[in-house]
Amino acid sequence: MNLDQKQKDRVMDTFVNVTLFVIMLSMLYPFYYVLILSFNKGTDSLLGNVYLWPRSFTLENYAQFLNDAAWYKAFLVTVARTVLGTVSGVLFTCLVAYGLSHRDLLFHKAYFTIIIFAMYFSGGLIPYYVVLRSIGLLNSFGVYIVPSLLNTFFLLIAISFFRDIPGELKESAHIDGARELVVFYRIVLPVSMPLIATMALFVGVGQWNSWLDSAYFVQSEELRTLAFRMMEVINRSNAPMDAIAVANSSSAGVTSYSLQVAAMVISIAPIVCVYPFLQKYFIQGIMLGSVKG
């Protein structure tokens, strides 16, 4: 390698590292910015020029968030739907997948045809709405849980995962006289933790972030989700010449904007805490998904 080549190499290294560093900052800074704003006095934030740390530190925004009935309620609804929706969705999908993972299952071709067809064709939003309405799910908490019980994408992934579990494991349990549900619960689930962690992450994040179902199918203020409330506030302040509404301050320098910023941090925080630890699982998951499609 001659000197010229070495120099070129260094130029390239610098270019690559600097570019990636800028990309990384552009991804990270928006999150950091709302984090410091959430700890800054609301009325002070409106003056601008807060870039690196809170200028006027306060916990009032979070205190107000918890005191505000509407925000707090939305937070509880979101936690409830995330926990219930994730547990029931993962269990239901796995149970169906366990049945389908038996290659000698009668009618399994028919079952698969029904599932694959449903993956490619849908009736669209309006007929779906009519169905939800007629089975009484509109405007109820159940609309967050029941329609997302089965995830066809993860169903296919789970089937191929269960098929790779050594047959002897299941056989030995059967010989001991265990019933299918026991085999599923005692043997299949415990050896499928990587799969379950991946599913739980995606289903859980989907539930936590969801606002469309709240917008489409729910009118009751009691059932609004955190993401929906944020959408409402953003939509309101997105409209032109609405700065005054933002500046309409309440006690302790908290503004509707600083309240919204605190809500954003609260909705981001659990995701930031969880996803780095599940990294290796979901990378496996996306690879599996892309190969088996």
């Binding site: 239901f92 366990y98 309006i126 089965l150």
Partner: protein, 327 residues
Amino acid sequence: MNLNTQATGSGVAEKSGSRLWKRFKKQATLHVFVGMGIAFLLVFAYTPMFGILMAFKDYSISDGIRGIFTSEWVGFRHFDEFFRDYQFGMIVRNTIALSLLKVLFTFPAPILLAVLLNEVKNNGFKRVVQTISYLPHFISWVVVVGLAFSLLSTDIGMVNKLLLGLGVIDRPLDILTNPNSFWGLAVGSAVWKEVGWWTIIFLAAIAGINPSLYEAAQIDGAGRLARIRHITLPGMKGTIVVVLILTIGSILGGGMVGSNFEQAFLFGNSINNPTSEIVQTYAFKVGLKDGRFSYAAAIDLIQSVISVILIFSSNYIAKRSSGSSLF
């Protein structure tokens, strides 16, 4: 067993029937598990498919599910009405432009990022950049729009305040409320949100390239750019084709990054409406907000039919030309 079948004749059907029944009874629990899933799909996937009929009828929501079948046929009247709508041209133009622009930029971006990451020699730095790059994928569009608002709005946006303070601009930039900037905003935020996520797949493709190819090229005197061009990029070809099929099939929803509806709905406002109104947001407004169910179902159906055609034809073309396909 074979002999037995030939010999008895009429007893066969009965016998194999009872054998089938025995097998079914043995598997009964499994069929209950699967049956729950099938029942779920019948209710939440197949019943709405029959609901498509309402696009050709005068359906009223007060008639419930039965109304789908009992209401009066009107043929293509709702479709005709949409084609004559004064906003029709604008809505179709926005849908197509937004979809094409998003694919054009969100498709190559993760490929470039993967190539860049592959050139990093420090593994720690590489891992940190990658981990941070897919954080936005897990954040909801609502929060992303909220972040954009905090940074870009004319009154409290950090970027506007900073640029005004530095004297770079003398009027705040109205990126969020300007019809001319909506497409750029949608494309930019989509790249920002999803580039890291799709990089995972392309990095895995790079990891599958035989390292001896790089060594051989180096001995032959190929520089790093030459190695990227002749080894890294060709090594990703299979993955690129598969992702391209996915992208083209889902182009009307925004390609592989999706979320055309969410972006148009959340970034859209009365001022940028001329460029932000798309088929899906329009169908939502006339359907669930104005209660014109048949009309909205017809609009939805047009988009679904085009999407299905795109999925199958892109898959067919890919199968023909390269041997890679999804199904």
